[in-house]
């Protein structure tokens, strides 16, 4: 396998991806320094998922934080687990965390509805997983109402007034995957893309990042198609079958949506596991099994770590006035393949 890579510069312009291959490991990047004012003491947190130190100070009054998330697949289950750990941590410091499921569809409307409701309830801070474009106005609204906002995992390329984004930039993440594939097949070849829903920014970003990443070594790559799966593994499976039938010399299937295992399944059935790689996103359990079998590679985004750390960043800001070291903190993104998958199982 290839060295693990970190996606940085999320939400920056698309050219920023050049600096994304800095090597790091999960342990090294944990506990980064925050810009603490002189009088505030920062102490490490006793959690393997904390990526930042916490101010050593208790809040003057009880605090209420809203953690707005979605729920429609295994990824969000990891988010929920992370948020639960964070919630327990916060509870020790007189902070209540409300984990709120906004809905099951990843669209601006759903997020905005939830933002509105959180603002009305006057939380002290909001942590949200916006993903879609069109949520910026509502994030700004919260900030204008005096509520700091931290966004997680995915946000659009449009600017907003959020204090901090922790996570992967869709483009950069896609690019890392593309580079991984480019390194695996230096001679180039054909690839197909399975996207979630046409026109949704996360998918579009990942897809264009992937294409740019493939160009890394200057080899010639040919795209044989981009098809919509609506996150259904069965559709991913069908589309992959079609790709393989039409292009027996295919090298890679990039699944930027959920349901990646459908692709691996189709490749396996065609008996092409040695020739074709299925590449996708997220360290969810159903993917990792295929990764362990060597039939898939995925890019992780330190899902639980991001959730826990976001709460600490918010605490630091609200209690100690400590602002994050940057307004964009890349999550630890690694390519997981069968060589390093044991770290995640």
């Amino acid at each position: 396998g290839c060295a693990a890579q970190t996606a940085s510069e999320p939400s920056a312009s698309t050219e920023a991806s050049a600096e994304t291959s800095a090597s790091a490991s999960a342990e090294e990047s944990a506990s980064s320094e925050a810009n603490a004012p002189e009088d505030v003491e920062m102490v490490p947190v006793d959690s393997e998922y904390a990526r930042v130190d916490m101010v050593n100070k208790e809040p003057e009054k009880p605090l209420r934080l809203a953690f707005l998330s979605l729920q429609n697949n295994a990824f969000f289950d990891l988010v929920a687990q992370g948020a639960e750990l964070g919630k327990q941590l916060m509870a020790e410091h007189n902070v209540t965390v409300d984990y709120i499921v906004m809905g099951d569809t990843m669209d601006a409307q759903t997020v905005n509805t939830a933002m509105d409701a959180a603002i009305v309830q006057q939380y002290d801070g909001i942590i949200v997983t916006p993903f879609s474009v069109g949520t910026e106005a509502y994030i700004d609204k919260a900030v204008d109402a005096g509520i700091p906002v931290i966004t997680l995992y995915g946000e659009s390329t449009e600017p907003s007034k959020r204090m901090l984004f922790i996570g992967q930039d869709a483009y950069s993440a896609g690019k890392i995957v593309g580079e991984y594939v480019a390194d695996k097949y230096p001679e180039g070849g054909k690839y197909g893309i399975v996207t979630g829903v046409f026109g949704v920014e996360v998918f579009e970003g990942r897809n264009s990042g992937f294409k740019d990443g493939l160009a890394k070594n200057g080899a010639k790559w040919e795209e044989v198609g981009i098809m919509e799966s609506g996150d259904s593994a069965d559709k991913v499976y069908s589309i992959t079958k079609d790709y393989l039938t039409a292009n027996p010399d295919l090298k890679a299937v990039y699944v930027s949506s959920g349901g990646n295992y459908g692709a691996s399944k189709a490749i396996e059935e065609k008996g092409l596991s040695d020739q074709v790689i299925s590449a996708g996103h997220d360290e969810v359990p159903d993917n990792l099994e295929y990764v362990a079998d060597g039939q898939m590679v995925v890019i992780s985004q330190d899902t639980m770590g991001v959730a826990v750390s976001s709460l600490i960043y918010m605490y630091n800001y609200l209690v100690g006035g400590v602002e994050p070291e940057s307004d964009v903190i890349p999550s630890n993104s690694f390519m997981i393949d069968k060589d390093n998958v044991s770290d995640y199982l």
Partner: protein, 325 residues
């Protein structure tokens, strides 16, 4: 329809209310609000009420147009796509240097045109409305994609107030909510008090009888689909103005919410029956629910189960009233 008002002149106020078509779902809405208010007092704040109202604007505006279509016995599944395309066109026009007000007018024209195309296909080729608009839903979405290439278009101009402006200070009444009420009122009058509205009911009630009564049924259809298209464009414009950005996913999946609002509001999918006030209540029920899910921290599964259960209760209540008459 308004017909029953007369009949109830001699009744007690309670009976009178109960005989209004929208009574059943109104009760459902009120009960829902009371329950939510008791569970979380924030629900009854002015700010939250405005939130709920603003959240239902898009669905309610589109549902007014859909109601007209459904009352004629048709259906339009392409409303979401039309909204998306219109919003994108609006941003595209302005980005190409068109004056925002002119762009808004053009945008309404785009929506109207989408609706008109739907109705031309349905009438001229004598096609089923469901399958036709299922097809145009894809086609219109495709065109929207063609315009943007999948990338969002920024939108910032003086006209944004129709989406994000408020009247009476920052915490006042959103302009979009006022537009929604205007649409509802005009729609209600158009449907119940004008010759055109009568024709809409007639076409849905029995198309052949309508034709034999001297009604140009095709024209009625062209008109309702065009109105619906223009209203989708209005919703698209409001959406874009509110979010200051136009993208390809804004309207996707909306058709189900829109149709649900119309049907919960008492319309019959076989035509000849429906109400604009009902549409508002139907949209409000769904809006209040979604708001409530967040306020009460429902998990996804309970959100889904509750949404389904409330829809059923609402239509059951609607049915009970209808059976009484």
């Amino acid at each position: 329809m308004d017909a029953e008002v007369k009949e109830t002149k001699r009744m007690s106020p309670l009976k009178k209310a109960a005989s209004v078509n929208e009574f059943g779902i109104l009760i459902a809405l009120i009960v829902l609000c009371v329950v939510l208010g008791l569970a979380n007092p924030v629900f009854f704040t002015f700010g939250n009420a405005m939130n709920v109202l603003r959240q239902i604007t898009l669905v309610a505006i589109m549902a007014v147009g859909e109601a007209f279509i459904i009352i004629t016995g048709g259906i339009d599944l392409s409303v979401g796509s039309t909204m998306t395309l219109s919003g994108i066109m609006m941003a595209f026009f302005v980005a190409s240097g068109v004056d925002p007000t002119a762009a808004l007018v053009l945008t309404l024209g785009v929506g109207l045109l989408c609706g008109l195309c739907n109705s031309l296909l349905i009438v001229k080729l004598n096609l089923n409305a469901f399958i036709t608009t299922l097809a145009t839903m894809n086609i219109i979405k495709g065109f929207a994609y063609l315009v943007t290439g999948g990338l969002p278009i920024k939108f910032d101009s003086y006209i944004n107030f129709i989406g994000n402006g408020t009247i009476g200070g920052a915490d006042g009444v959103p302009v979009s909510v006022i537009i929604m009420f205007a649409v509802i009122i005009v729609g209600h009058i158009l449907l119940n008090r004008t010759v055109f509205g009568k024709k809409v009911f007639a076409v849905g009630g029995n198309e052949r009888s309508a034709k034999l009564s001297g009604i140009r049924t095709e024209r009625v259809k062209y008109t309702v689909y065009s109105i619906a298209g223009a209203l989708c464009a209005l919703a698209g414009a409001i959406c874009v103005c509110n979010l200051s950005i136009a993208d390809n996913s804004s309207g996707s999946g909306m058709e189900m919410d829109v149709i649900a609002a119309v049907v919960i509001g008492g319309a019959s999918l076989s035509g000849g029956k429906g109400s604009i006030v009902g549409v508002l209540i139907g949209a409000a029920i769904m809006g209040v629910l979604k708001n409530g899910f967040v306020l009460l921290k429902f998990s996804t599964y309970w959100q889904m189960i509750t949404l389904g259960a409330v829809i059923i209760v609402a239509v059951v209540l609607d049915g009970i009233r209808n059976r009484k008459i």
